[in-house]
């Protein structure tokens, strides 16, 4: 409720400011930052309305940008992807054959971590890897907290996007640089549609909604 009231107040103020600014400067004059470009916040030099950060205040935090839930195991994409150069698809193996990117099975983790027990340079067994070992011994899966959530009425298909050459970062941001994964894009309809428009993909409602 507090978030909501705050949102209403801020909306009023910032709408005024936005309109005035747009009039005075012209939206096209604004230069998007590299980060914003990567996050897909800009199309054709224009900000996507539904991607205004302000709107995040009206939705549950799970659907808002900056959502960074604590995961049961502290898994560092930066370490695995940027430093160790493991391909995204090594773990998210379903991404080019399924609508889901898929989260790796514990067996995939243990493929390395049966042997690798400590972080390079650190001393002693990593407590996070120990969690994996314990789950493996117990035969229990790790219950990850989803970060990039889509509502149920959207049928998103990873396979199609990957095959069309859309990079993971276009929607998920620079995951390889993240210590803790966070939601970078709004993943709202405007975000999807603007990209579809730019790339000549279908913008028929029935492509995603059924």
């Amino acid at each position: 409720m507090k978030r909501f009231l705050l949102g209403i107040g801020l909306l009023g103020v910032s709408l005024t400011v936005a309109i005035l600014t747009a009039r005075a400067v012209g939206i096209a004059a604004e230069e998007p930052s590299q980060e914003e470009l990567e996050a897909g916040l800009w199309r054709d030099g224009k900000a996507v309305f539904s991607d205004w950060k302000l709107l995040d205040l009206f939705i549950p935090e799970q659907y808002a940008r900056g959502y960074r839930p604590e995961q049961p195991v502290h898994y560092s994409h930066r370490l695995h992807v940027e430093q160790l150069k493991i391909e995204c698809q090594y773990c998210h193996s379903g991404v080019n054959k399924s609508s889901y990117a898929t989260v790796p099975s514990l067996e995939t983790c243990m493929g390395c971590h049966k042997v690798v027990k400590q972080v390079t340079g650190a001393t002693g067994e990593s407590p996070e890897i120990k969690k994996l070992q314990e789950a493996w011994d117990a035969g229990k899966p790790i219950e990850w907290v989803p970060v990039n959530n889509l509502p149920e009425h959207v049928q998103f298909n990873h396979q199609r996007h990957v095959k069309a050459g859309v990079g993971c970062q276009n929607c998920h941001g620079q995951v390889q640089k993240m210590e803790v994964v966070e939601r970078v894009s709004s993943l709202k309809m405007g975000f999807c549609v603007s990209c579809h428009r730019e790339n000549g993909a279908s913008i028929d409602c029935g492509v995603c909604h059924y």
Binding site: G94, P151, H153
Partner: protein
Amino acid sequence: MAAAGCAQELPEKIIPYVVQPDEVVPGVATWYAGSCGECSSGCGVLVRTREGRAVKVEGNPAHPISRGGLCSIGQSAVQGLYDPDRIREPLRREVGGTFKPVSWKEALEAIAEAMAAGGAAGKETVFLTNPLSGSVRKLVDEFTSKVPKASHVEYYSPDEAVQHAAAEQVFGPGAKVYYDFSLPKMIVSFGAGFLETWGSPVEYTKAYAAGRIPDAEGKVSRFVHVEPRLSLTAANADYWVCNAPGTEPAILQALLKLIVDAKGVGGEPAQAVRGVVVAKALAESGVSEAKLREIAEQLMKARNSVVLAGGAAVSGAHGTVAASLALLINVALRNIGTSVLVDRGQRTVPANANEPVQALLKRMGSDAQPVGVLFISGVNPQFVLPRQAGFASALGKAGLVVSMATNLDETARLANIVLPLSTNFEAWNDSEPQPGVFNLNQPSMQPLYRTQSFGDTIVQLAASEKINKPFEDIVSFEDYLKRTWRERTGAAGFDSRWLRYVEAGGEWSSRKRLDDALQPRSGAAAVVSTALQSTSAKAVAGLHLLAFPTVHLGDGAYANRPWMQEIPDPMTTAVWGSWVEVHPDAARAAGVQGGDVVKIVTQGGAIETPVYINQHLHPQVVAMPLGQGHEALGRYAAGVGVNPYAVAPLSESAWGPQLLFGSVDLVRSISKEELVILQGHDSQKGRGITRTVATAALAAGAGGHGDHGHGKGDHGHGKNGAHGADAHGHEGPSLEDFHLQHHDPLALGPHPEPKQMYRQMPHVEYRWGMSIDLAKCTGCSACVTACYAENNVPVVGKDLCSEGREMSWIRIERYFDGPEHRPVKAFQPMLCQHCGNAPCEPVCPVYATYHSDEGLNTMVYNRCVGTRYCSNNCSYKVRRFNWFDYEWAQPLNWQLNPDVNVRGVGVMEKCTFCIQRIREGQQVAKDAGRPVQDGEVVPACAATCPADAIVFGNLNDLNSGAAEGHRSPRSYKVLDAHINTQPAIAYLAKVVHEDGEAKVS
């Protein structure tokens, strides 16, 4: 904000596999071949699983029996799997009568102990099951042969019992008859509902339907059905003969006599009807001699024909005689080896197949109490046997009663130990439904609960020391089954062949050809003629009760599947209950009206149920559906309707439940119960919604005029009082009163779409469309069930159905406005027509429904705000509104298709042409770098249709099957000529024989 508002439910955790099975990719379906275990037809199926759960069953196109089709009951098998009332662990009855969960070990030990103790005391161990086949049959045989005083008794349904007896009567011991409907040009059926549940309905429907479209010579098969009630099968016939109840043996006799005399046939057929006088035989049958002569002539003229007798026609004392006469007619017509296939390699059954059951009950009930342990599996005697059989009291005298069942049904409730059975999705199984066709069913998922198959239970029981380990080295039923396959097919290279068998769902390369023109055994006729002389087969005065199995409930085992309760019976369109069909004359005599509750008093008891006034019934018959009236089974079945089996009188000569019996009284009752009928009106008011075309008109030239209703004068027939304007005598204006149509609205054949003032949506690559051939559609409703399963269509229950809030996306339209001998012109699947000029689209204030560039009338749920304007404006009434959030009782929700949204409250929904399948097909095509090919995308309704009546495809591709249908001279679009909706669905008028109509007797 709306979009954010729709996403308030928060996502759950992502729980990956610990070890991901090789064949599973989350999000991608895995298919397993198997066989349907719902009835004994033995259709091949493909089970679609997602993330280890079965979500859908499809027919296996490669299977020789079902060839890709699957019936309504087969489609509902997944609801049997996820039935919330399934037994989840073994149960043992405590002293107080309540059940307590026990472990499998405890349960099996208790059974072995009882068997050992009974053995010591010289008592019997008996298995009472449904007719078994394949390895499980062999296993039971071996078990009973190795355990002292053990035996196996099979219960046959009333019709099965008679068919067995008649086949052996005519063709000698071990004979069994199969039918091939692809050949006959003339079909005469006496009560055999071969398009519903009789025999192997999917197989028969497929072949029958193919014969109903004009061949190269422009000819279609001819079908005459003789039955006192207009059944679904009768409604499909070219000519329905309404005979007096119980006169079938006499009519069959007369028919055989006419054929024998005309063809000069000798031998057994002639023997059987020596001395028969046709006019005398037909005296009380209600069938004119001229009509029967016409039928006989057409039978003899046809290149190939078939005569069947089944269902109520073979019920009672003369059942076997009637069925034998039908076989002898086939002999006289030289149909044996072509359309009537006889195998003589079967095991013999007693003259009354259920005599062993009768004997068992007698033994059980006797004071000596000779039965120590009784196993019951695959049959529910407490439900299917008449009350007079005294099953419950006999059961009370048996020692230990072990019921193996999926649900706590009426019989299981009376058992001492209940062992939970696995379904076909969870266990290995095999069968031989036809000689040389070996079905192999692999489990497609892990058991949901602590359940086991019948086979595994016997294998484990046999491992017990207490009964001296009858099998030495068998570790599981899977192992045993594999061993029988190895024995039969040979050991050389078996392991690699085995994988092929599993993958294919069986093996049928050595399917037995049954093309011998077998002659009847000598003496076959004597039994027929003496039986008929000894007792009179004349019509008995007074009311008769005719009980019939339905396409959704069979005779009762499927009643706890909510789809089967809510999908309407195609003839009455009644849901969630029983009814009794009464002729208007009989109703007047009894002083009852449609919707009243009556007490039906028989010699076997009395039951109460609402009246459905049915004009298409012999005045001496009242008819009731089987399958309802469960006291147990589960939450959806218990307490719904009544069970006519219970009140059937029991005769010593034909022991078992009867489907037709006399001495029935109707008494008006004061109790109230609503019968919910979904179809609002029985007449189409000359709108040409369902159409027929005569063979002659079709041959005369393309197009022509369909045989349509006759405007204002075309009154609907008698009607249940509960719904419909007809009961009040109102006749609304017919569409012919308005002169809006741009061409003859009832002409057949393709028409140019008229111009319209708005810009048309261009269909660049695809225009999805459908053609539905009414000549093939039999109204079996498999498509409706398939749609419920594929599209997560909710079940709303009886109360909401009575308010017209059922959610089905596709329904079967049935209008009673044909001629008297063919009251239903055609059955018609009605679904969203995906109009090119859709009335629903312009009225939506939020663009939630619109026409896509692929020709789909798309419905965007998250955009819908629920004004329901679209539904009001829809000319076909195919849109459904979610008045509530509907629930799927756990674990029924596990069946939900993950590729389709579950719609929430306040949202409109309707047929999408299975858009999820279109998208899947487009993906495959895109990966292959080509457009979608014809036949690659098949919606759920078209995939399951046993008649192949529904063809879906891209209308832009002129070579597609759907486009071909649109071009057919028989094609028409419903209401298009009146209101220019430009549907994407073309219906093809049903082909009928006009000459037969002119000679109405």
